[in-house]
Symmetry: C2
Subunit: 211 residues, 2 copies
Amino acid sequence: MQLKSIHILIVDDHPMVIEGLKTLLSDDERVIVKTHFINGTDALSYLQKDTADVILLDVNLPDINGVEMVPKILNTRANIGIIGLSTYSEPSIINQMIRNGVKGYLLKNATADELVNAIIQVHLGNFYFGSEVQKILADSVTQESSNLPKLTRREKHVLTLIADGKTTNIIAEELFISPLTVETHRRNLMQKLEVSNAASLIKVAIDKKLI
Amino acid sequence: MQLKSIHILIVDDHPMVIEGLKTLLSDDERVIVKTHFINGTDALSYLQKDTADVILLDVNLPDINGVEMVPKILNTRANIGIIGLSTYSEPSIINQMIRNGVKGYLLKNATADELVNAIIQVHLGNFYFGSEVQKILADSVTQESSNLPKLTRREKHVLTLIADGKTTNIIAEELFISPLTVETHRRNLMQKLEVSNAASLIKVAIDKKLI
DNA sequence: ATCAATATACCGGAAAACCAGTAGAAAAAA
DNA sequence: TTTTTTCTACTGGTTTTCCGGTATATTGAT
């Protein structure tokens, strides 16, 4: 029934992880580990000539950041499925990986079942995220959306105009109000978001998804 | 074999879509459409008392924005799977939906197969995105990552410090260089990103994923 | 009708950012 | 090794932001 196995590439600098993955996958005939690399550069140069179906990519490589690896891989071989791997859990990293194009993400404590499942789904072109990863992502959303400072309509408006790079005077003209008023709004915004200048105001506003 | 059908809730203000979905799903005994709502408010108040397994949620509702609906739904019923639906394709909308917690996303030209597949996968706790949706997301990543202004290492570093709300003088102290140099870096950054102040510098830097 | 929140506006002064240039040293690329 | 890029630093001046207050009109909710 199984005519063609899925070819796997492992990119990870921990020998233990490599061996562990190989062992976990050796029992399943649907997948076959082609080879492995212990750094990003070697993996990328391999992909110049050869290819694979699915890459298991560690986030913490010695040379190239895993997050940066993803677009590099996809630029070379657009239809490789990439599954991110890491021991820990930072939601921002996972989010970046997803944005950059990984199709799956697993923590290294994933079971053989999960691993094979992820590989198969990703190879089919679907997404697969381990249950712990999903929990982490869900938590990061709810956590961030809590304790949001309440901005008034006017403040939100002024905020977006500041983000557009408009000065107090320009904003005042656009809103037909005094520059002094605009400044008050800006100051209230900064106070509410607990920052001391416009640059970080924009930063935390975006972080808190107010823009 | 099929003991329990997956209970579906449709939230969409287009009668044609509602009927279409119901017809597409009527043939499959694994899913059963419980009821539907033509606006967000009614759907939310329904969820106060009753529940469902999977919600098919239109993005363009008359009262509440679909993007905002998602967290509202998940706050009430955390383990409902939400599948976003829309006719068109704006990547930013899809991204927002995903960030807010949808488990799937389909365009309205999805086939019955895709639809049922998505429902089943989402109900299992997995993600499912239609092939067109995946293409859109992939395009948006590569498109945005192109024509990026090239920042030097030092500039990137200064950029993040600015985003942290640090002033020129503070940054100079941290980097053991003259404030005048830091200012030069800031000005070069602003020129490269084509903005005229630090606030919008941070904005476009985040937009272009340089931070 | 009343109270709280919001939007409006001001003063004066200090700090920081912004602009237009120039230019040498160090590092990286050719 | 030469060339290019990056990092560094400066002068001198203008504009804008930031801070600590204060204060009234308007709007929204109860």
